[in-house]
């Protein structure tokens, strides 16, 4: 088991953020977080509903899976349970996006 290490967020390598730390490891993590918060703010579900599924997804997750993998699983499950969309709809959309030519399939960083 690895030991949790505290990153040095105040040193010279600190990213240019007012609050000292870049909170997302990849742009997709920020997108999935932002989508979840947008739905919360639109009252599509409550934090407690989401949190219960996040806890379950984290408990099931294998070693090496990222925190936001579990987050994505939890969000998809909740969307399906709420009848907001189906897993098939998400997958169909995903295939369309993945089929785009190279160079068009990476999201740009936020704030372009």
């Amino acid at each position: 088991m690895t030991t949790a290490r505290v990153p040095d967020v105040s040193g010279p390598a600190a990213p240019p953020r007012r609050n000292g730390e870049l909170v997302f490891a990849s742009p997709w993590e920020s997108r999935i977080f932002g989508v979840t918060l947008a739905l919360l703010e639109a009252d599509r579900f409550t934090w407690d509903e989401f949190r219960a599924r996040l806890i379950a997804a984290l408990a099931r997750s294998a070693d090496g899976e990222k925190y936001y993998d579990s987050w994505t699983v939890a969000l998809e499950e909740l969307l399906v349970e709420k009848g907001i969309c189906t897993a098939a709809e998400i997958s169909a959309n995903e295939r369309v996006l993945a089929a785009r030519p190279p160079g068009h399939d990476h999201r740009d960083p936020v704030g372009r």
């Binding site: 088991m1 690895t2 030991t3 949790a4 290490r5 505290v6 990153p7 967020v9 105040s10 953020r17 007012r18 609050n19 000292g20 730390e21 909170v23 997302f24 490891a25 990849s26 742009p27 997709w28 993590e29 920020s30 997108r31 999935i32 977080f33 932002g34 989508v35 918060l37 947008a38 739905l39 919360l40 703010e41 639109a42 599509r44 934090w47 407690d48 949190r51 996040l54 806890i55 984290l58 990222k66 925190y67 993998d69 994505t72 969000l75 969307l79 907001i84 969309c85 998400i90 997958s91 959309n93 995903e94 369309v96 996006l97 993945a98 399939d105 990476h106 999201r107 936020v110 704030g111």
Partner: protein
């Protein structure tokens, strides 16, 4: 920056979700960008540092903060998701508090921003409860044996924030200078406030 294949797959899945929900009219165009900007730039530990500095300089505020954390934090204009039930626990020479969420990653967003990656790590979540003294020492905070360590497990009902001890030699500092000494880690309880 290099993208590995798995990360591309994850990016596609996230984008597929976002575009589907936007098409359905459930997520307003621009809403996601605005939320990300807010959490990357505006909401973060500087808010909590201002709360701590105020508590160090204003005894009446400190009492209100310890009695009803969320209300006292709202006095300074901070609030929002995950901030409804913040409880502030005070470090003293005899008692050191440290915060964890053993089940997921509950965390007082309005005062601390989003949690650091190690806070979400299964190793931290499980070990700090079982052997807090050892984990804190490994993280650079060795505590004397006579100091009682209290571990607070955040939950859907309550999110904790630590009021660190005011460092020695700070009598002449104003609230802004004091806030600069208060780190995120000090408010989780895995570090002390910085020395001036």
């Amino acid at each position: 920056m290099a993208h590995d294949h798995d990360d591309d797959d994850r990016a596609h899945r996230a984008e597929a979700l976002e575009s589907l929900l936007t098409e359905k009219g459930l997520v307003a165009p621009g809403a996601v960008d605005a939320i990300i900007r807010r959490y990357e730039q505006d909401v973060g530990p500087m808010n909590g540092a201002k709360v701590v500095a105020r508590a160090w300089t204003d005894p009446a505020y400190r009492r209100r903060l310890l009695a009803d954390g969320a209300a006292a934090i709202a006095e300074l204009g901070f609030g929002g998701p995950q901030g409804e039930h913040v409880v502030v626990v005070e470090n003293t020479p005899a008692v050191h508090n440290v915060v964890v969420c053993t089940l997921c990653s509950c965390y007082p967003w309005p005062v601390l921003g989003l949690p650091p990656s190690w806070y979400k790590d299964p190793a931290y979540r499980s070990r700090v409860v079982r052997e807090p003294r050892g984990v804190l020492a490994e993280m650079g905070l060795p505590l004397d044996a006579h100091v009682e360590i209290r571990v607070w497990d955040s939950s859907a009902e309550v999110r904790y924030m630590v009021l660190p001890e005011r460092p020695a030699g700070t009598d002449g500092l104003d609230a802004d200078a004091l806030a600069a000494l208060v780190t995120r880690d000090a408010m989780i309880g895995v570090a002390r406030a910085k020395a001036p």
